[in-house]
C-alpha cells in the first residue's frame, strides 16, 4: 500500500525556514490553505502577512530580495501569476531576484473552477526568461523541494501538493534530473505532478499485456533534462505526455520541441486539457472528463501503437489510490 503523508509541506517548511533566518514566509490570506498556519503561529518574526493583495506582495518580495532576504510566497498557484504578472516580470524576473513562488492547488486539483485552476501557469512561466519551474509529484518531492528551490540563483516557481499526499519516491528531489519509473522499449510516457500517480495505475495492466513502457517523471520543467529525454525517446514507437495543465506550452509542448529539434520523427500524443478552460468539480471527475486519467493514457498508448488496448476501467480502478485519500481537504478555498 502506498504511504499517505498528511500535510508534508507544513513540517518541511518549518524545518527548512527555521534553519535559515534570511528566509521569509509571505502569505496572502490563504495561510492555512497553504499549510503555513503553524509556522505563522510559532515563528511570527519570520512571517509577513500581506493580505489579499497579490500584486503588492510580488513587488514587495522583490524589495525584500534586494535586501538579501529570500522570500517564499504562499498562495494558490493562480494568484501568483495571473493578476500579478507585470509585477512578476518587472519586480522579480527581469532582475533575476531570488524570490520563491510556492503555488498550491495547481491545475484541476481544486474544485474552485476556472478562477482557481492554474491550467496555463507552466506555459506562462516557461515564457519568462530567468524563471525556474519545479513541480512536485509526491510527498517526498514536497518535503525536499525547498532546498532545491533555495539553491537557485534567480526566481523559482513551484507547484506544491497539499493535504494528504502519496509517497511515490524514496529519493529526494533532484534538480533538473528526470526520474525513471519503468523501462521498456515500445512507448515513452512522460508525466509530471499528480499525473504521475495516475499513470502508475496503468503500469501493471500494460505490462501484463506485454507492452514495454519507459516511464519518466518530470519535476524540473525549466530548465529541462534534454539529454535524458532524447536518450530514451530514440527508437520508441511513440511518446505520450500527460500533464495537469493545458497541452499548449507545458510539458507536452516542451517534449514536442525537443523531439522536433532532434529530428527524432517519433509520434507524439499530448494529454492534458485540450485547449479548453475547465470548471469546478472534483479532481477524479475532472481528470476523467478532460482525459488526464489512466484510461486516457492507455488509449493514447494504443493510438501511437496503432492498436486498441482493451483495458477495462475496473482494472485501472483496482489500483486506484483515491480510497486512501478519503479526508482530502477539497473545501475551504
Amino acid at each position: 500500500m502506498v504511504e499517505i503523508v498528511n500535510r508534508p509541506y507544513a513540517k518541511a517548511f518549518e524545518t527548512f525556514a527555521t534553519a535559515r533566518p534570511e528566509v521569509l514566509c509571505l502569505s496572502a490570506d490563504l495561510t492555512s490553505s497553504c499549510e503555513i498556519d503553524g509556522f505563522r503561529d510559532r515563528h511570527p518574526d519570520q512571517f509577513l502577512s500581506l493580505g489579499m493583495a497579490e500584486q503588492n506582495m510580488l513587488s514587495f518580495a522583490g524589495g525584500l530580495a534586494m535586501q538579501g532576504f529570500r522570500p517564499f510566497l504562499h498562495t494558490f498557484s493562480v494568484f501568483l501569476y495571473r493578476r500579478p504578472y507585470d509585477q512578476l516580470i518587472n519586480s522579480i524576473a527581469y532582475s533575476n531576484r531570488k524570490v520563491r513562488l510556492m503555488g498550491f492547488l495547481p491545475g484541476i486539483t481544486t474544485p474552485g473552477g476556472i478562477t482557481h485552476q492554474a491550467i496555463e501557469d507552466i506555459s506562462v512561466m516557461r515564457a519568462i526568461p530567468n524563471m525556474t519551474i519545479l513541480e512536485c509529484g509526491d510527498a517526498t518531492e514536497v518535503e525536499t523541494v525547498l532546498e532545491v528551490a533555495d539553491s537557485i540563483d534567480g526566481p523559482v516557481y513551484v507547484r506544491v501538493l497539499r493535504g494528504e499526499v502519496p509517497r511515490l519516491f524514496s529519493t529526494p528531489f533532484e534538480f533538473n534530473k528526470l526520474r525513471t519509473l519503468s523501462e521498456g522499449d515500445d512507448v515513452l510516457v512522460v508525466t509530471s505532478g499528480v499525473c504521475t500517480e495516475e499513470a502508475l495505475r496503468a503500469a501493471e495492466p500494460l505490462k501484463n499485456r506485454g507492452i514495454g513502457i519507459h516511464h519518466l517523471h518530470v519535476s524540473t520543467l525549466k530548465p529541462f533534462d534534454r539529454d535524458g529525454l532524447i536518450r530514451v525517446a530514440r527508437g520508441k514507437k511513440g511518446v505520450v505526455t500527460l500533464e495537469n495543465h493545458t497541452i499548449n506550452g507545458g510539458l507536452g509542448s516542451l517534449v514536442a520541441e525537443i523531439l522536433a529539434e532532434e529530428g527524432l520523427g517519433v509520434k507524439l500524443r499530448r494529454l492534458g486539457l485540450q485547449d479548453t478552460f475547465a470548471h469546478g468539480a472534483s479532481k477524479p471527475y475532472l481528470m476523467k472528463k478532460y482525459g488526464l486519467d489512466a484510461s486516457a493514457l492507455v488509449a493514447a498508448i494504443g493510438d501511437v501503437l496503432g492498436k486498441t488496448l482493451d483495458i477495462p476501467d475496473a482494472e485501472l480502478e483496482a489500483v486506484r489510490l483515491d480510497t486512501v485519500h478519503s479526508a482530502q481537504k477539497a473545501e475551504a478555498l
Binding site: S27, D29, L30, T31, S32, S33, S49, L50, G51, M52, A53, E54, Q55, N56, V78, F79, R82, R83, P111, G112, G113, I114, T115, H116, T276, F277, A278, H279, G280, A281, S282, Y285, E331, A332, L333
Partner: protein, 311 residues
C-alpha cells in the same frame, strides 16, 4: 417553506440563514458565517431594492453546459435567475463568488429557484458550483478571483448610462476585496466618470480567510477611505433594514453610492462566536463537535433538529 414574493424582508433573511445552516449541517461544512453577515443585505436587495423580472432559466438548475466559446452555443450565464435583460430592469453583479451558497439560498427563498436546488450544490457536472462562476445561479460574471466584479459592473453601468437605460446596476462585495488595489482603481474611475447609476453593498464583516482582518491587513477607517475617493459612502448597521432603506435613498447626483454594511459574522448564530476567528469555512473535526453546533444553532434558529436529517 413554499414562498411567494410577498414575504417580509425579515423572513427572507431568516430563511437565508436557515437554508445555509441546514445545508452546512447536512454536508458537513459550508460558508456559514457569510450567511450570518449577509442575510439582511441580500434580503433587502432581493425583496425590496432590486427591480428584476421573472427568471428566464428553469427553476431546477441546469447542468454545466461547457465553457463559453464561439463554438459553444449552449453556454449560458446564471443571470437568468435575475430575470431578463431589459432597459428598465436592474442588474445585480455578485463579486465574492465564495458567497455562492448564500446567494443560492436567497434565490430559493425568493422563489426564483427550486426548493431543492441546493441538492445540486458542488455536484460533479452541475452548474451550482461551490465557488460561483458565471454559469452558476445568480452569477453573471466570473468573480472567484476577487475584486473584479466592481470593475465589470462599472463598465456595465457606464454603458447603460450611455444608452439612457433606466435600470440600475447593483453590486454585492465583501470587505476582503478592499485589500486588492483594483477596488480602489475602480472607485477612482467611477468617481471620475460620474457613474451614478451604480449602487454597491459591501459586507463589512471584518473577516477573511485567515481570520479577523485586523490580524491580517487592517482596512482602518474604511468609510473615510472610501469617501475620500469622491463617491457617496454610507456606513450603516448591516443588520438594520431601515438603515438600508435610508441609505439606498440617499444618492447624490453624479456620484456612485457605496453602502458599507457593518455586519457580524455570527449574527443570528451566536454559537459561532466560539469559533472566532476561524469562521471563513465552517467544518467539524468530530461528530461531537458537529452535534454540539447543530443543537445550539438549531435552537437559536428555532429549527427542529429532525429537519436536518431529511435527505
Amino acid at each position: 417553506m413554499t414562498l411567494s414574493n410577498q414575504q417580509k424582508t425579515e423572513d427572507v433573511a431568516a430563511g437565508i440563514r436557515k437554508r445555509v445552516f441546514l445545508h452546512t449541517m447536512r454536508n458537513n461544512g459550508g460558508y456559514l458565517s457569510q450567511a450570518c453577515s449577509a442575510a439582511e443585505s441580500l434580503a433587502f436587495l432581493y425583496n425590496e431594492a432590486l427591480k428584476l423580472g421573472e427568471p428566464t432559466l428553469p427553476k431546477v438548475p441546469l447542468p454545466f453546459s461547457g465553457v463559453p466559446s464561439a463554438s459553444n452555443p449552449d453556454a449560458f450565464t446564471g443571470a437568468g435567475y435575475h430575470g431578463p435583460f431589459a432597459p428598465e430592469y436592474d442588474r445585480f453583479i455578485i463579486s465574492p463568488a465564495h458567497y455562492a451558497l448564500v446567494i443560492y439560498s436567497a434565490l430559493i427563498q425568493m422563489g426564483r429557484m427550486d426548493e431543492h436546488a441546493l441538492d445540486h450544490f458542488n455536484r460533479d457536472g452541475g452548474s451550482v458550483e461551490m465557488i460561483g462562476a458565471e454559469h452558476s445561479p445568480g452569477m453573471e460574471v466570473t468573480t472567484g478571483s476577487l475584486a473584479q466584479g466592481l470593475s465589470m459592473a462599472s463598465g456595465i453601468a457606464w454603458a447603460r448610462k450611455r444608452k439612457d437605460e433606466q435600470g440600475l446596476v447593483w453590486v454585492y462585495m465583501s470587505d476582503g476585496e478592499f485589500q486588492e488595489g483594483q477596488t480602489w482603481e475602480c472607485l477612482a474611475a467611477m468617481a471620475y466618470h460620474g457613474i451614478d447609476n451604480i449602487r454597491v453593498v459591501v459586507d463589512v464583516n471584518r473577516q477573511q480567510c485567515d481570520g479577523a482582518m485586523s490580524s491580517v491587513l487592517d482596512l482602518g477607517d474604511l468609510p473615510a477611505r472610501v469617501s475620500s475617493f469622491g463617491v457617496t459612502c454610507r456606513s450603516i448597521d448591516g443588520h438594520d433594514l431601515d438603515a438600508f432603506r435610508k441609505a439606498a435613498d440617499s444618492t447624490e447626483a453624479g456620484k456612485p453610492l457605496i453602502i458599507l454594511a457593518n455586519t457580524s459574522p455570527y449574527q443570528g448564530m451566536e454559537f459561532l462566536k466560539k469559533r472566532f476567528p476561524r469562521l471563513h469555512y465552517v467544518r467539524f473535526k468530530s461528530a461531537e463537535e458537529r452535534q454540539e453546533m447543530q443543537s445550539a444553532i438549531a435552537a437559536e434558529l428555532r429549527i427542529d433538529e429532525a429537519e436536518i436529517a431529511r435527505i
